[in-house]
């Protein structure tokens, strides 16, 4: 190796730096990604199962890909790319977060034999890029667009909402939730920008799922902490004037750095009175402006509550910031940080205000708001985890409806669009000269993971259904919307069956998955520098005998190194899938 004699090797990089390169490195990165997808693949589709993840004290049960990926705390540097695409799919589309990871990993898996055979990764990447562009274009061709004013439009929204809910925990209640979700989104009057801010999802543990409800075009929040005098207050108004404050209505020291010094004992009483006067002035200002309802972000004390009750006003203190913003948006009121200079213009109004009892909770409900760009959804359910998962499901579905509203076009789900795109790619592949042909074919095969996994999760034999589907798509002109029939273990026209997904969802998944696969394929060397604050890692690396590394949580960040060692010991994929947990921080499995 070294022509100049017996000198030891040259150290180029810092002590403890771990490098691995070449084919083995690439294969080990792909294996790490496969371990991740094995962890989440069973959650796909209506028959997908949930994952229970316990982190510290909190327990999460979910089948939302993005949530699981986030909670897994993946340490492997290459596999982190998968977390990224899952997150960006979540931000961009909201749903399809599992699909995108599955697709990316399946593309990699299909490419693995090529890598092992020594095909240059650049050739793979170029073909994957071309194939993904073709796939996105095909989705554009396939999509069915609806006119915004047509009757089917609302129907389309309903169908996309229920399709999104289908794969979730609350799928059996989609008849309840789907209309609620569509109503909530359409109540926003087209201003879809701040969906998370404008549609509040309130979780109230207890009761039954079917007691969940929507306050359309209005705001509802749980009764805040109340002081004495609350019972006497008027609890329902028609067309009330609403004042929103960011002021504490309580007797208190005005400023920390102020001090009163009096020379004359007689003056003491006047100081006390002045303090009372200050708060009375504030309360008077609130009453005088003609408001019927006073809400404040800060506490409203005993005195003020009593004072308002005497004058027929309703008040609530310590209202949450988000609720406050929604009330402001809905009623047209402006939040005031001072009680001075309140005028008519800053007051808001609504058709009806009411304090309602629902189940065992009391709610303040504002309905018939003039500006109405907000809705509140109240979710009920047995356990905290159940409601938390319901919330995620509803949120995904909301995002999907928003997407459909914006793009106005859908494709059929249930693996139909993937099958059709795969067929198109296969046809196209025949026209390609050179290795690209095989790679595009492999890409097409990778797309079939979606129907395949759907079958697998539903307990059917994927090979039977897949071959039938392939045949249908290849032979029948009208067969383009045929996907997996989860109920009967057969195929069906999923478009007809109302399994609709926004076309953006699919095109985004295809593009992101291909991008992530390309990132991983493009890496030909992994260099891990020792962490600067963590000298233990470096010495641990140095001292640990090769075999013992797997047990140490610290060395997990050296996932690549471990893999390289594994690969060197024999067989390129020895044990990687089995101990996939070692890519994650020490939890789960054990």
């Amino acid at each position: 190796m070294n022509p100049y004699g017996m000198r030891p090797g040259i150290i180029l990089l810092r002590e403890g730096t771990d490098t691995s390169q070449g084919k083995a490195q690439l294969i080990s990165n792909i294996n790490a990604c496969q371990a991740i997808s094995d962890a989440i693949r069973t959650t796909l589709g209506p028959r997908g199962m949930d994952k229970l993840i316990s982190s510290g004290r909190s327990v999460t049960i979910s089948n939302d890909g993005a949530t699981i990926m986030k909670l897994l705390e993946i340490e492997h540097p290459a596999a982190k790319t998968l977390v990224d695409i899952s997150m960006s799919q979540d931000a961009e589309v909201g749903d399809g977060t599992t699909t995108v990871v599955l697709l990316a990993v399946e593309i990699l898996k299909q490419m693995k034999p090529f890598v092992e055979e020594g095909v240059h990764p650049q050739i793979l990447m170029r073909s994957i890029r071309d194939a993904s562009m073709l796939a996105v274009k095909k989705v554009e061709e396939l999509k069915v667009t609806f006119d915004k004013d047509s009757d089917q439009f609302k129907d389309m929204l309903l169908k996309t909402a229920s399709t999104a809910l289908n794969s979730k925990l609350i799928s059996s209640h989609q008849d309840l939730f789907a209309p609620m979700i569509v109503d909530a989104v359409s109540s926003l009057d087209g201003s879809l920008e701040d969906l998370r801010g404008m549609i509040a999802i309130k979780k109230i543990p207890g009761g039954d799922v079917r007691q969940s409800f929507l306050v359309k075009g209005g705001v509802a929040f749980k009764k805040t902490f109340s002081y004495a005098g609350f019972e006497q207050m008027t609890k329902s108004f028609k067309n009330p004037k609403i004042l929103l404050l960011n002021v504490e209505l309580e007797l208190k020291n005005e400023k920390d750095n102020a001090e009163v010094r009096i020379e004359n004992p007689e003056e003491y009483q006047s100081i006390v009175e002045a303090e009372w006067q200050v708060i009375y002035d504030k309360l008077d200002a609130c009453v005088d402006c003609g408001a019927n309802i006073v809400l404040s972000k800060l506490p409203i004390g005993d005195l003020a509550t009593q004072y308002f009750a005497d004058r027929g006003l309703f008040c609530a203190g310590r209202v949450e910031e988000g609720d406050m913003r929604r009330v402001a948006k809905a009623t047209g009121a402006a939040v005031q940080t001072s009680t001075n200079g309140i005028y008519e213009g800053v007051l808001g109004t609504c058709a009806e205000f009411e304090e309602k009892r629902m189940g065992d909770e009391t709610f303040n409900v504002f309905t018939g708001c003039p500006c109405s760009q907000t809705s509140t959804m109240v979710l009920r359910g047995g356990t905290e985890q159940f409601i938390a998962e319901s919330e995620r499901s509803v949120h995904d579905s909301l995002m999907v409806v928003k997407r459909s509203l914006m793009s106005r076009s859908v494709v059929a789900g249930g693996g139909a669009v993937e099958m059709e795109v795969a067929r198109h790619l296969r046809e196209h592949a025949l026209t390609i000269e050179g290795k690209g042909q095989l790679i595009v074919n492999a890409f097409a095969k990778a797309l079939e993971i979606v129907p395949r996994q759907l079958c697998e999760n539903a307990g059917f034999d994927p090979n039977d259904i897949l071959s039938a589907l392939r045949r249908k798509h290849a032979q029948d002109e009208d067969g383009k919307w045929f996907g997996v029939d989860i109920e009967n273990g057969d195929m069906m026209d999923t478009f007809e069956a109302g399994v609709w997904e926004p076309s953006d969802n699919k095109s985004n998944s295809f593009a992101s998955a291909a991008e992530a696969a390309n990132v991983i394929l493009s890496i030909d060397e992994t260099v891990i520098n020792p962490r600067s604050q963590d000298p233990g890692a470096a010495t641990g690396m140095m001292g640990a005998p090769q075999g013992g590394m797997g047990q140490k949580p610290l060395s997990n960040m050296m996932g690549g190194a471990m893999d390289a060692v594994n690969a060197a010991k024999g067989g390129s994929r020895s044990g990687n899938l089995g101990n996939g947990v070692s890519y994650l921080k020490g939890r789960g499995g054990g």
Partner: protein, 554 residues
């Protein structure tokens, strides 16, 4: 280590220096070791050369993950310890600073120059012969390179979008193959947007910014003629047109005294009016700002709730920007002056923006300050980048940086040379021909220099998955028959029947970038070759030292 010390250090020297030092001298111990280290580093980066270069995944000491094929970023993050290899790193950094692009050419070429010397030394050449041969070859190289500029038409006018794109596209293609058709127009548009209307076309590298937003794909990226802040406004109002802008580098809140002060109140009246007076003061300030016509207030610090209340009441927008750098960029984009005290700005100090609005991108609110097209008002452009993974985003940003640098260079010196290894191949042939005319021993060094130039076409072919031997032979034949701009055809990869070369390559490189890269590479190589002794004193830090012996090894 003790053994190697006893072997290496002469008694005289070790007697003079503090205990624990190391010294290496002579051809085998110093020069060849340095050469070897440099060759190592260039083998690491070489696979990243060109459009088909592979990426490296580097996890740096803070745990950040970097996936890139940008040579400068790689060598910077590698934390190189070896002193000679560090010289290549510094040369790459200098190239990055000067031209942005071509950093890999520096490291690969310098590495190749040095590895060629191993054979020369074995033949018995003295390093001095090699140095003199390399330097005369270097001078010739730059001469020949300038001649090459007549082969292709250069960038005549930096204001023409097509011409600018011609210079930017190959740079972007080398970093982000497949995205250059999307990125090149964006970069060109962003650069053109910041050019002042009079005088020679010029691009300030600082004036094109990148706002990275996770999600979507690269086709959704676009240019904003102005500034993009990655946070929303503080108000219920979210958009404003034709706005005057006041920028405060301070917080907008009631001023507190630095020294500890206590307000002493003597009687009840004081107590009642205390709070009111503070409110009144704030209202006065905000009102005076509103009266001056300002519609948008930007603060570099915190904005008190009381201030927000009045800003809301007077119908203005308010945005907080935490970073001082960002604030300064906003000032440049809108032409405003940052005020250090609260109060109404003078007309000079106010900025102007045609359109300010908060929009949602990828689930996050961002505030966009957009000047209408071709108004020439904005001296800053922002490219809003979209991609679905953060490592791709970061790599795209680096590519865009290089693209802007290229635009900058193209405006200064628009001469172009053929790329795709064509220039290097032609130069290689010329240098080898030149070697034959030299009488002395340095003839061998010059020939080796010419040979080293082949590293570019060879690596391009190798990275594209082509058979490098046959491609290089075909390329050499093409050049010998007078096709001066024949280059590697990377599109041929994966197609068995293709020859792998193109007679007229459409890839063009900037002359300035290339000549700087060659000069830096030659300088770095010569510096390394001139070293004949390395003396390292004992590193401070005690125990770590034993393991940190960079020369002796594990």
């Amino acid at each position: 280590m003790a053994q190697s010390m006893a072997y290496n250090a002469s008694a005289g020297l070790s007697g003079m220096l503090k205990k624990g030092h190391q010294s290496f001298s002579g051809l085998t111990d110093a020069t060849l070791r340095n050469v070897e280290a440099c060759r190592e580093i260039s083998t690491v980066t070489r696979t990243s050369l060109g459009p088909n270069g592979m990426n490296k995944l580097v996890v740096n000491h803070l745990g950040r993950i970097i996936v890139t094929s940008d040579c400068c970023a790689i060598v910077k993050e590698l934390e190189i310890e070896h002193p000679a290899a560090k010289m290549l790193q510094m040369a790459a950094e200098a190239q990055d600073f000067e031209c942005g692009d071509g950093t890999n050419l520096v490291v690969s070429f310098a590495g190749e120059l040095l590895s060629q010397t191993e054979d020369l030394f074995r033949m018995g050449l003295h390093p001095a012969d090699v140095v003199s041969g390399y330097s005369s070859a270097g001078e010739k190289l730059l001469e020949f390179l300038e001649e090459m500029t007549s082969e292709v038409e250069g960038v005549a006018d930096g204001r023409m979008k097509e011409q600018l794109e011609r210079a930017i596209r190959p740079v972007l293609a080398a970093k982000q193959l497949g995205s250059e058709d999307v990125l090149a127009p964006l970069v060109a548009e962003a650069c053109l947007g910041t050019m002042s209307s009079g005088g020679k076309a010029a691009v300030n590298v600082e004036s094109v910014r990148v706002a990275k937003i996770l999600g979507g794909n690269i086709h959704q990226s676009h240019v904003v003629h102005g500034f993009v802040a990655l946070r929303g406004v503080e108000m219920t109002l979210t958009s404003c047109e034709n706005a005057k802008i006041a920028v405060f580098s301070c917080g907008i809140e009631a001023s507190a005294t630095e020294a500890k002060g206590t307000v002493l109140m003597k009687n009840a009246e004081d107590l009642k009016s205390y709070n009111k007076s503070e409110e009144k003061k704030m209202e006065e300030v905000i009102k005076s700002i509103a009266d001056s016509g300002v519609k948008v207030i930007v603060s570099g610090g915190s904005v008190s709730e009381m201030a927000l209340h009045f800003i809301e009441r007077y119908g203005m927008l308010c945005l907080k920007i935490g970073s001082k750098w960002e604030l300064r960029r906003l000032c440049v984009a809108t032409g405003s002056t940052a005020l250090v005290r609260m109060g109404a700005p003078t007309p000079d100090e106010m900025g102007w923006c045609d359109d300010v609005k908060q929009i949602e991108v990828g689930g996050k609110p961002v505030t966009v300050f957009n000047q209408k097209d071709d108004s020439g008002k904005s001296k800053l452009s922002t490219i809003v980048l979209r991609a679905s993974t953060s490592s791709v985003l970061a790599d795209l940003e680096r590519a865009i940086d290089d693209g802007v640098h290229a635009a900058n260079t193209a405006c200064k010196d628009g001469r172009l040379v053929p790329g795709a290894g064509a220039t290097e191949m032609e130069l290689s042939l010329k240098i080898i021909a030149f070697a034959d005319t030299c009488p002395g021993l340095d003839q061998y060094a010059i020939r080796a220099f010419g040979k080293a130039l082949e590293v570019v076409p060879r690596t391009l072919a190798e990275n594209a998955g082509l058979d490098q031997g046959s491609v290089l032979a075909a390329l050499g034949a093409a050049h010998a028959s007078g096709k001066k701009s024949a280059g590697i055809d990377i599109d041929a990869m994966g197609v068995a029947t293709a020859t792998g070369i193109k007679d007229e390559t459409n890839v063009l490189d900037l002359y300035a970038t290339k000549s700087t890269a060659f000069r830096l590479a030659i300088d770095a190589a010569l510096t390394v070759l001139r070293v004949d002794q390395i003396i390292m004193s004992k590193q401070a830090g005690g125990g770590r030292n034993a393991a940190m012996d960079p020369m002796a090894g594990m």
